[in-house]
Amino acid sequence: MKAIFLGFILVYFLLIGLALLIANKKNENTVSSLRLFDKSLLSYIGFLTYAATLFSTFTLLGLPNFFRTHGVGAWVFLGITDTALVAFLLWVGLKVRKKLKDYDFKNMASLLYHKYKSPLPKIIYLITIFLFLMPYVAIQIRGVSAFLQNILPSASGLWGWGIMFTFMIVIYSAVGGIRAIVYSDIFQAVILLVVTYLIAFNCIEMAGGMESLFTKVANQKPQLLTVPGPKGLFSTSFLLISFITIILMTITQPQLFTRMMIIKSNQEFAKMAIWLGIFAFIVILPTTFIGLYGSVYYYDLAPDDFWTQVFINDQNVWVGGLLMLGLLSAAMSTADSQIFALEGEFDNPKQEEVGWGSTVLITIFAIISLLLALLNPYQDELVKLATLSFQGTALTAPMILSGIFSNRPNRFIAPATGLVVLIFIFVVFGYLPTQIMDIHIVFYMLGTLSLIALKPADTAKIASSTTPVK
């Protein structure tokens, strides 16, 4: 079995090498080519790369585990939320693209600088995404290292796999540019879909059919079939704030915003949204059955052991190998997209060529993410780390939207966002409560920032200029 798994890893490295070669042939060392795919992405490639960036190890490993431990409320948490995300993406994306049609988009940081005519919003944005994309990259590193260590134990343990994987994503994104990332995204999206269905069908069959699976869940853990679930996680407050912050990722996370901006035309963008929505629905669906199967047979296992049981021991060896391939590519495509987009945010907008300064910064980011992946206290809670990332980056949404849509955005929004992000860091470390009167604190934070953003500077100026002089 080990030989087959090693064979799969070898095949993966060969494919990655091939993607790098092809991408390098087409790439020129310009921002437009390396970072933005020459803004010519078509809908069918666009939806696959968007999907692969969005659906990661978190979908493949975290979500089945979430269904297993917290029940069918996980469909509200991600199934509904992701289809709503696509509906929001289409609406806001068309408006943003229309608003910025005469602007030469390079990255979000320079867009904010251009709109606010001040470096502060850009600095606040860079600090926030630098801090809160780390947990999301850490999830990918943690997920893939733990899985590989379980099925192919190495003498150096988790660290060995973690260091190797981090090294791979930094090199791959630095050398191959967005083209190489898009190629690996396409591969990942297809593998992810095939492998989750193979495993889900197998799980349903082993449970004696769909009806039998749900009857067993109802008999053993009936709380899994309702909200808030056996551990009480899926409160309305939690689901609502997850819904809002996940939807806002389309605007706040650079890898998603960039993909929205580099689609060739609005027509292609609209087509991409339809395909993305369908993909989101069909890729999350099988994780429900894998997770509920796990709740019947492996409820008490730790996540790492649950994954090994369901994805390897209960499957045909070839399916297990394919899963490993899917997992590697899922983690790779999500992490390299994020690292690459983040690297692009630190580019000098005045330079046409891509320099190495931002690569050094991103290497530091990757190393900190690696440490977070392997040393943090929530090692088994991939979803907790993901929600932390969604919530943190979502706090920049009012500042971004105000910057894009208001002709003279309120200049107080940037320091207010900075202050709120700082308060949120205190919440993350447990110095402040996560809920006030049963409502998540991020809800109050976003509400306050939205109110500030909705009072544009030009309104104040017009109001004062139209006051009659006595």
């Binding site: 509906a87 609406w91 909200v227």
Partner: protein, 68 residues
């Protein structure tokens, strides 16, 4: 009249808001209970599938209108 024309203009975000409210309302409808009896899926999951599909239909309609 002005109210209805504004309503018509903003039908997409309003439909989005309606589906969001539906997501977080505790109501399980008669049809979901019937599907539950037929397919033996838990009502919450059926409701989740239906709302997800409604979001997809909404996206497809808006995309269709904006494909020009």
């Amino acid at each position: 009249m002005a109210f209805f024309s504004r309503l018509k203009k903003h039908w997409y975000p309003l439909s989005f808001l309606f589906l969001t409210i539906l997501t977080f309302s505790p109501i399980i409808t008669e049809s979901e209970a019937t599907i539950n009896e037929l397919l033996h899926l838990p009502p919450l999951l059926i409701k989740g599938f239906i709302i997800s599909l409604l979001f997809l239909i909404l996206t497809a309609i808006y995309a269709g209108l904006n494909k020009r």
